[in-house]
């Protein structure tokens, strides 16, 4: 067996990034851990409370509801954006003038900042001046996202789909473009159906980009803050108060730093666990379906 040569000196190249991450992420995370076991009344004076904040949080109905709303939101947008993104990518042209046109159109929503997207949809959905809200009202549909929780949810979900499906489309399109023509020629010779081509050629070849798309969309949707905050402010009532909105209310609105720190850590651990499960499952699915020892 030939031992693989590994040049460990390359790790020094990572050192600047490591220092930046330490400064921007590790030190703040340590501070959050410190806050989570203490209470403060301001003036940088802290009192040790042990794991009381965690105990309160885990038994808090408010946290449970925000967590369930967050899971439901992420589940719904993944269930819509991933199949929709694949479907749109499959219909996009592979050559000709349509390629740049489609790519630019797809990339446009991704270029708009989160708060601007929120503002666009906040005005778009208003019954008095918004095109969507006014049209729906004219059609006799009772739509008011400031009063009706279902309308608020629909607005936030459609907004997210409008903003982020393009990302899934572009990633899937990149995966589809990397499939050599020989695969399609072989499928044609075998008389494979459109579904068989999708199931046995396109989907396996897209699985790595799909992994990235699902991971990115899950993590982004699980920590979504700006867009729903601008559109609904977490309401009506608490119906669109997701974890991040609840966290900000707790930390900045109520200035409960210890409680908010404990919530941040549990939130962080949940995202870490879900991302790790997604990554492990999807990378292993790929390894089992691809031949061993290949290039």
């Amino acid at each position: 067996m030939i031992a693989k040569q590994v040049n460990q000196k390359a790790w020094f190249m990572v050192l600047p990034v490591f220092l930046i991450v330490a400064f921007s992420a590790v030190i703040p995370l340590m501070t959050v851990v410190n806050y989570s076991v203490q209470d403060t009344f301001g003036n940088n004076v802290f009192f040790w409370v042990g794991f009381d904040w965690f105990r309160d949080l885990i038994h808090s109905e408010r946290f449970h509801q925000a967590f369930l709303r967050q899971l439901l939101f992420s589940g719904i947008i993944l269930a819509i954006e991933v199949p929709l993104g694949i479907a749109i990518a499959l219909t996009m042209p592979k050559k000709g003038w349509g390629v740049p046109l489609c790519l630019v159109n797809m990339a446009l929503p991704l270029l708009i900042p989160w708060n601007v997207v929120g503002t666009i949809w906040q005005i778009f959905g208003r019954v008095d001046i918004g095109l969507l809200g006014h049209t729906l009202a004219a059609l006799g549909i009772d739509y008011n996202y400031t009063q009706d929780p279902i309308a608020a949810w629909l607005t936030v979900i459609v907004m997210d789909i409008w903003h982020w499906t393009s990302l899934v489309v572009l990633l899937c399109y990149a995966g589809l473009c990397s499939i050599p023509d020989a695969y399609y020629q072989a499928a044609r010779i075998d008389g494979a159906s459109r579904w068989a081509i999708f199931r046995y050629i396109q989907l396996p070849k897209m699985h790595r980009v799909l992994l990235i798309a699902i991971l990115l969309r899950f993590m982004d949707s699980f920590m979504i803050y700006t867009e729903p905050f601008v559109v609904t402010g977490g309401g009506p009532g608490n119906s669109t108060t997701f974890l991040s909105i609840d966290l900000v209310k707790l930390a900045i609105g109520q200035f409960d730093l210890g409680n908010a720190a404990a919530m941040s850590l549990v939130y962080f651990l949940i995202i870490l666990l879900c991302s790790w499960i997604f990554y492990t499952v999807m990378s292993n699915v790929g390894e089992e379906s691809s031949p061993k020892g290949g290039a």
Partner: protein
Amino acid sequence: MNFNWMAWTGPTAAFFLIILGMLITMTVWEIRVPGGAPRRGILGFETTRGDRLFVSLLGSAFIHIFWLAFFSLNLWWAFALACVYAVCVFIWV
């Protein structure tokens, strides 16, 4: 430098020092006895030594959270359970 703003306490400092100690131990272990190449354990996926440390730490965090949620016994029991879990992960996963 003044680190008062970070609100350090003895137990949290010890916690981070233990994590740092684990990372240093893993590095020394790999240099002394190389063998961190991926292997397939009982969960059916490949893990390196680093992956197993990550799984141990993440699992331990959730053991402590579930202990707080469902048991009123002292948290040191959860710590003991997490240690046993970590040893099992390093042996079998």
